[in-house]
Structures are given as C-alpha cells and as structure tokens.
C-alpha cells in the first residue's frame, strides 16, 4: 500500500527537546511518543478518546494524543508526563498526587497529571466545582477520584507556597 510506505518527517519539541522521526501519516501522536520516541509515560487506555490516559499538553493545552495524528502537529510543542518534573524535583501536581494517594495502579495518572497541570496554570485557586470539572474527562478505575480531587486542591496549595520560585511552576505555555 503506497499510503503506508509514504513517511513524513515529524519534528516536535517534546519536553523542551527537539525530537523527530519519520512515520506514516496515520501514526497516532500517542504511538509516536511511545514507540517512535520511546516516551512510554503517556499511556493508551481506549484509543477512542474517552479515558484520557493519553492526555498530553500540545502547545500547553491538554489534548488526547490518541485522537491526534503526529503529522498534524508537526512543528509544535508537546509536554508529556516525563516533562512535568523539574530537575530532581517533582512538580506541585506530582507531589500532591503522591501526598494525597491520588493514584493506585498509576496507569491513568499521566493523563490526570497533564490535565491538572494545565488547569492549575490557568486557574491557580479553583473551587470544588472547577476542580471536579477539570478532571471530569479522565477515567480512573482504581481511586474513586476522591483523592484525585483532593490532590488538585493540594497541588494548588503547593503551587501557591512555591510561587516565589518560578522554576517550580507546573506546565509549559
């Protein structure tokens, strides 16, 4: 099939590093990150856009990487779970999920972390309802979400505490 043999050189800035690979047009961004770039922190739970495990930040905004072709976002910036932490230090959101027991098997966690990181960047002091809405598009089968919601608020607190140190701020715009 000629469509399959045509490869496109896709160049992304992933977690601040220029990465590229030649892939067929149909390569999903999720597979591109995981299999072509070896960034397996982004997980694939349904491949039809419902579970949210594959959520990454595209130019700072959370998107489903399983509903995006890598070739479409050629030239753009992507942040994955591997890029959320600072040097040797967890980001406020990562810390909060740990402190609040916001994960069990950890499979859905990268999607939550990416979605919450972008959310708190835009809304650093969310209400209960806003926090709920922010994670409402991600499925978790383990935690019952209660500790995830708690973690969103705790992350906001940590973020506020560390605001004096801009390098600790989550997310990349």
């Amino acid at each position: 099939m000629s469509e399959e043999t045509t490869r496109y050189l896709v160049t992304l800035v992933v977690n601040g590093v220029v990465r590229e690979a030649a892939v067929p047009a149909r390569r999903l961004l999720s597979d591109f990150l995981r299999h072509d770039l070896g960034l397996t922190g982004t997980h694939v739970g349904c491949e039809h856009g419902v579970c949210g495990a594959c959520t990454v930040l595209l130019d700072g905004e959370p998107v489903r990487s399983c509903l995006t072709f890598a070739v479409t976002v050629d030239g753009h910036e992507v942040t994955t779970v591997e890029g959320l932490a600072g040097d040797n230090e967890l980001s406020p959101v990562q810390r909060a999920f740990t402190e609040c027991h916001g994960l069990q098997c950890g499979f859905c966690t990268p999607g939550f972390l990416c979605a919450v990181t972008a959310f708190l960047r835009d809304n650093p002091a969310p209400t209960e309802e806003e926090a709920l809405e922010a994670v409402s598009g991600n499925l978790c089968r383990c935690t019952g979400y209660q500790n995830i919601i708690k973690a969103v608020h705790r992350a906001a607190e940590i973020q506020a505490e560390t605001q004096g140190r801009p390098e600790d701020r989550g997310g990349r715009a």
Partner: protein, 796 residues
C-alpha cells in the same frame, strides 16, 4: 524513624516512578518487538467453514499468520480448566484459536504477527473467514430452556448445578421452616453484567533466547507463577527455562487472574517459533469482547420470618450466566451462594445454583466475585421483610445479626476454598451503631419530610456484608539482608496498584527494626520467588503480608543469634532499632545489621572492606565449629510461607442518601457512608483508597455499567462511549470509618480489604431509591430511564 510503621499512613513507595512516567507497564517493554493482532469472531455462534489468508500475505511487514491447524502438541488442546469442582459436571474451555466452532463474538480465530500493530491490523482486515451460522443462545432464561445449545454435548446448557442446605438448629429444612414461618415472601431479583475493565488491558511480551533455550515472558497478569507453569506445560519447556514477570500492571480487578489466556501462550510460542520478540497489547475493543465479564444472575427468593423480622428459613435459586466457557470453574456462583448470609444467622438455608452457558463472553471473577449479587439478594430480602412488617430496616438487620460473642461462627456451608465457612471474628452491632450515627439514620425521616416539603424526593439505604478474604492455599515471602544493610523482600504474588511495595515494606521494617528506606520489595517476578498463587480474593496482604512477617521473624532470630555471638550476649536481651542490633538498655553494646549480614556469610574472598571481616583470617569464627554450622545456611535471609486453615472474614456496612428527580428520574447520590472492618490496618491511607475505588466501581454497577447483548449475541456497547464507567462527576464523596476487629487466624491480625468497597453498593443504592420512590427495586443497575419505566408501571 523505624519502629511503628505498621498501622501508619505511610506514603506509597511506588508513586515516585508512577507520577514521572517511569513505571513499566506491559506495552512499555520490547520497543522493537513484532506485534500480534487477532482476527476475532464477529458472530456469537458459528461454524468456521473456511479461512482464506491469501489477501493478507501481500501486506508489507507481515511476518506470520496462524490458525488452529498450525498449533502443535498441547497448544492445540483446549485451555486448562483452572478450578475443577465436582459440581462442574460439564466444564468447557476454549481452544487458543477457534477450532471449527466459535461461541462468542470476540473469540480468537487467526493470529497475525507483523512488524507493527498497524500492519498487523491491516492484515487482519484482509483475512476472510467463512462462517455457517448457528443459533446463538443469549440470556440465562432462554439458555436454560435448552432449545439451542452452546456446546453440543452440554444438555440444557447447564455446566454446573450445586445445592447446599443448612437445616435449622431444630433440624428443619429451609422449605419446612419457610412453610412454618408466621410470614412468607417470594420474589425475583436480577443483576446485569458488568466487567473489571482495568484501564490497562491485557498484554503479553515474550523473548526467546535460542542460545540457552530459555523463555522470558512479561504478562499483565494477576499471577505470574501460574502463567509460568502453564506456558512451560503448553510449550513443553522445562520449568526452570521459563521466567514470567508481572511488571507494573494497570489494574486487574479480577479479569487478569484468569490464565493462561490464549494470547499468553500463543505469543511466547510465536516468539520461539519465529526467534523474534513478539508482543500483544490488548486494545479496548478486544478487552470488551474477548476477556471476561461478571455479575449477571437471576435469583428467585423464598423467605419465611417471624414478627421481629428474624429469618427462619431462606431458599434461594440462582441462574448464573457463565458465558461461553468455564476456565475459572464455578467460583463466582459458589461465592454468591455461600456469602449470601452475610452477618446474619438465619434459621434454615437452602441455596441452589445452575451455571448456564450462553454465547457471550465468559464469566470469571470481577472484584467482589459473586458477593455483590449475594449481598443484593440478602439485603433486598431484609428490606422487604422490614417493609412487610413496617419495621425500621436497621432493626430487622440487628435482629438477625450474629452476636459479637458468637465467634467463631460456623455457617454450615462449604466455601470457595473447599473448606467450612466459619467466621473468625467480627462486631456487627457496633458497625451498625457507627454507621447509623455517621449517616444520621435516626434523624433521616425529618430530613426526608423537609425535602418533601420542598418538592424533593430523597431516600436512605443500607447494606451489610461479610467477605471471606485471604483464601489459601498459601503465599510465601523471602527476606534477605545484604552486607550493605539493605533488606530485599520478595513474594510471588503480583501487584496491580494495591501498594504492596509499601505495605510489605512496612511489615518488614516493623518486624526487622530497620528504616523503611532500606527495604525494597519485589512482587510477581518468578526470578525472585517461584511459589505463589496470585492476587485475588482480597488475599495479598493477609497471605503475603503474614508470610513476609514470618520470614522476617526467621531472619530476625538468626540475626540475633549471630549478633549475640559477636556481642557475647544472650539473644533474648537483644533488640533491633534503626537497623542496629543492641543489648536492651545498653545502646553501646551494638552491631549494625549490615555487619551481622557480613558475619552470616563466611568468606574466602574479600571483595570490599565489609567483606574482609568475614574472611577466614579475620578471627571471627570459632575454631571448634565449622564455619557454617550444622543446620545453618550462609547468608542472613529467611523464607517462610503462610497457609491458613481457612479464610478470614472481613465485614462492613454502607449507607447512602439519594435524591431522585420527580420529573427527569435522574438519580443523585447525596451522601455515601462506609463502616469497614478488615481487622488490624497496616496502612489506613491505602485501605481507604481501596474502599474509595471499590465504592466507585459499585456506583458504576448500581447506576451506570451494564453489558448489553442483543438477541444475536452482539455486544451493543463495546466502547467507553457506551459502557458507562463513572467519571469523577458520578462518584459521591465517600465518608469512611474503621472498626478494627483483629483476626485470630494470622500473626498480624489482619483481614483482606481489596474488594470490600464494591460489595454492597448495588444493595445500598437500591434500598435508598426504593425508600425515595416507594417502588420496589429488584433489578440493578438502574438508569433514569429504568426508573421512569418503573414509575409508569406503578402509576398504570
């Protein structure tokens, strides 16, 4: 900080890697591996008349195509029937690839191996399978008519039939007790299908080393040791040549205890045949139609009771939908039928179940494993008794409770482990008292009246359960202290997010008196521990936790013996704190555990400074004894096993307040309260997390999740769009309280906690909706549309 770690909300040691994307789940392995994909049956029941793979052969990157006819030896035989039971007279399992007949949509027919998954799916799409349609059998009540058969040689589609009967103390049968009772009720209950549905599907990755004829298999499984034995047997390999590792596993909830899955033996076989790494990562659609479901039952209940609501006789007949095959035996209906009695002592009990084949995905345990159905049955029954007598629902429950002084309490049944169902401990009246207080049970009528005055409908519901946890036969633990003072713990069972690395480290750190930072835990890796059963039935903490504690005690004893020698002290005077063995009351007389580890292993060669102290000329060994004494082994390590006489029984009670919209029939959970008793808590934070997750799955089962099959055996909602697992917006805040009634059966006094949260939820929500609506609720799950239909029926 060493000492009191047991019982503390220690933060999880797994999390650092999992929140940074450094975990390793199945699909994260083998970046260069070939990808497998499967052609699966689109029909529920059909005979395969032809398979034409020719068009697929042109797909670039195709490596291999296999059908049943290609399978050699034991691979061509049906998959094992894992749990045989005398009542399972007609157990049937599938072939790894369908032979002649397919019995459910999703059954694997052809295996394709290609350079990547995209290409493998391209090839699958080009393979043409011709089928001759057979009549599909869908729904237990249709199936049991036997007009059409799932398996030609299973009359009436009945795979198993089992009756257990416990007469009353006076020797009355259930039928007699019911007939003689002052009051009698008879009704039918329905529970629909759901599924474990972990966020990570199944997956297998295999590497064959032709050099030494060994196979390494990674599987997203709940039992690596047993997968290993199955793979070795099916591939005809010596057991020591096969290693199986369960890496980070993205949730199991029961479905991954089934093994070997077809893919679990086909992928290793293909890897060996092709001499290449092969990986199969299940996609979501495959998970819906080719793994396993659970829950579906139809129950017929007859109950006789007295004026106080005491149950004098109970007769339950269950039709259990087993799907197309019975690889996991009849564990689910056995659990339903034996756990049905919950915290109650009743007069006489008779339970009968038939396990029925249908042309649907096979049924194997999903978290709760038959208990949600059991509790639904018993609690709906007690609610009906209360309604009939005009009594408070909690009063009727209290009238039937086993008293705190009646333990051990023998229910007179044979449990899922083939052993007598004897409750070890519990305090049900106290749980009820705590729950009523927490949820405000006694003041609810006023709350309800106030709501009614505002035109709102609210209702309160309750559900109680007892859960047999920590079933045998055994688990083991190995603990090794190395000369750097680190403690390496391993156990054979696997982890799927329960936090075993943390709780087992807490146990080891507490038992050995070492800082938890020095303890590392490995689970589910047959290279480290070869003997195990698996993680299911809320058993990991009880089984491996106790085994590790016992292994630690062996290590501790040996350490004290060696240290006593070195310190010239009596071992009985020694204790270990912060990893240092010292004489009680004389901190200066001490020796680090690391040094004890050095001394435990007499050496000829000094490879580092520490090792020097254990060499032959260091003057530390007595000349009148061999360096390794009779009965001793080198090294500071211990291995032990825990094999309990029977299960330990956790319990709990939940209550919920729900609101139903009088117009839209939407159902909202306003409050959800849990009292939970799993004996001594190792880590309350983790136990609470387990409860939260269980309740959320229970809410799914009560209000959202069902597998909808049409009459052709097509699953109509095989996607996350239409199989409605709750999001954060659907799960209420869960209030929890703990009661700690220790188990007398094991050294740590613990009981299992993994499944508890999910068990009573359907019963609780049904009870609350019934209270709000005044309409009997006898089928779960219930949607707004269902509730609307019930309202119409009542009005009509």
């Amino acid at each position: 900080m060493t000492t009191k770690l047991f019982g503390e909300p220690v933060q999880r040691r797994e999390d650092a890697r999992l929140v940074t994307g450094q975990g390793h789940y199945l699909d994260d392995f083998g970046p260069g591996a070939l990808a497998a994909a499967f052609v699966r049956s689109p029909h529920a029941h059909a005979r395969i008349t032809d398979i034409d793979v020719s068009a697929a052969l042109d797909v670039e990157g195709l490596v291999a195509v296999y059908t049943w006819e290609d399978l050699p030896g034991a691979l061509a035989e049906p998959l094992p029937l894992l749990i045989p039971h005398p009542a399972l007279t007609h157990g049937r399992t599938a072939y790894p690839l369908a032979r002649d007949i397919v019995r459910h949509v999703g059954e694997p027919v052809v295996m394709v191996v290609a350079e990547d998954r995209y290409l493998a799916e391209d090839a699958c799409a080009l393979i043409e399978v011709e089928y001759e349609f057979l009549k599909p059998v869908v729904g237990v009540e249709e199936a049991v008519q036997g007009a059409h058969l799932v398996h030609e040689d299973v009359p009436g589609n009945v795979g198993a039939h089992l009756v257990q009967e416990v007469p009353s103390r006076e020797g009355r049968s259930a039928a007699d007790a019911i007939d003689a009772a002052p009051h009698r009720l008879e009704f039918r209950l329905d529970i629909e299908r759901s599924a474990s549905m972990p966020l990570e599907g199944r997956g297998v990755y295999a590497r064959w080393d032709a050099g030494d004829g060994s196979l390494r298999v990674y599987s997203s499984t709940q039992t690596s040791t047993s997968v290993r034995m199955a793979v070795a047997a099916k591939l005809g390999l010596p057991l020591p040549k096969v290693e199986v590792i369960a890496p980070d596993v993205g949730g199991g909830f029961g479905v991954k205890i089934v093994h070997p899955w077809p893919e679990e033996i086909l992928v290793p076989w293909a890897a060996r045949t092709l001499g290449r790494e092969v990986k199969w990562t299940e996609d979501r659609r495959e998970h819906f139609v080719s793994s396993a479901h659970e829950r579906a039952q139809v129950q017929h209940v007859r109950v006789g009771f007295d004026d106080e609501g005491r149950v004098l006789g109970l007769d339950v007949t269950i039709l259990h939908d087993h799907g197309a095959y019975t690889p996991y035996g009849i564990i689910v209906p056995i659990i339903t039928s034996t756990q049905l009695l919950g915290p109650y002592k009743i007069g006489a009990y008779r339970v009968e179940f038939s396990s029925i084949y249908t042309n649907t995905v096979q049924v194997t345990p999903y978290r709760g494993a038959g208990r949600p159905q059991a509790v639904f049955c018993m609690e709906r029954t007690l609610d009906r008794v209360a309604a009939y007598l005009g009594k408070d629902r909690t009063e009727v429950r209290a009238a039937n409770f086993i008293g705190p002084d009646e333990f051990p309490y023998d229910q007179g049944l044979i449990f899922q482990d083939g052993r007598p169902l004897v409750y070890d401990s519990g305090n049900y009246p106290e749980s009820l008292r705590m729950l009523k207080e927490m949820v405000g049970w006694d003041s609810f009528p006023e709350m309800k009246a106030r709501a009614a005055a505002e035109g709102r409908r609210i209702g309160i519901g309750i559900g109680c359960y007892v859960e047999g946890t920590g079933v045998g036969p055994y688990e083991g633990g190995h603990v090794q202290v190395t000369s750097d003072g680190r403690v390496h713990v391993s156990t054979g069972l696997t982890s799927q997010g329960q936090g075993h690395e943390t709780v087992f480290a807490q146990i080891a750190a507490t038992e050995l008196g070492v800082p938890i930072e020095r303890v590392s835990v490995v689970t589910g890796d047959t290279r480290r521990f070869g003997y195990a059963v698996g993680t299911f039935a809320s058993r990991a903490a009880v089984m491996s936790g106790n085994a590790i504690a016992l292994a630690c005690r062996k290590v501790r004893e040996k350490a004290l013996r060696i240290a006593a020698d070195a310190l010239e002290a009596d071992p009985r005077d020694l204790e270990i704190t912060d990893g240092i063995v010292h004489v009680a009351g004389t901190p200066s007389a001490s020796i680090p555990l690391a040094t004890v580890a050095v001394l435990s292993n007499p050496l000829r060669y000094a490879f580092d400074e520490e090792a020097k102290r254990a060499t032959q000329f260091s003057g530390t060994s007595a000349m009148d004894r061999p360096p390794v004494d009779e009965g001793e082994e080198p090294g500071l390590e211990g291995r032990d096993y825990y094999s309990p006489i029977r299960s330990t029984f956790a319990s709990g009670m939940h209550a919920a307040i729900v609101e139903t919209d009088p117009e839209t029939a939407e159902i909202t959970i306003l409050r959800y309260a849990v009292v939970h008793d799993c004996g001594k808590l190792i880590n309350p934070m983790i136990v609470e997390g387990q409860i939260h997750g269980g309740v959320a799955q229970g809410v799914g089962g009560a209000l959202y999740e069902k597998m909808v099959y049409d009459e052709h055996g097509q699953l109509l909602n095989a996607s996350f769009m239409d199989f409605l697992m709750p999001y954060a917006t659907e799960v209420p805040r869960i209030e929890t309280a703990h009661l700690e009634t220790p188990s007398p059966l094991n050294p740590l006094g613990i009981k299992g906690a993994g499944e508890a949260g999910v068990i009573p939820v359907s019963a609780v929500i049904a009870s609350a909706i019934e209270d709000a609506e005044g309409i009997p609720i006898d089928r779960m799950p219930i949607s707004p549309s269902d509730l609307y239909t019930l309202r119409l029926r009542l009005a009509g």
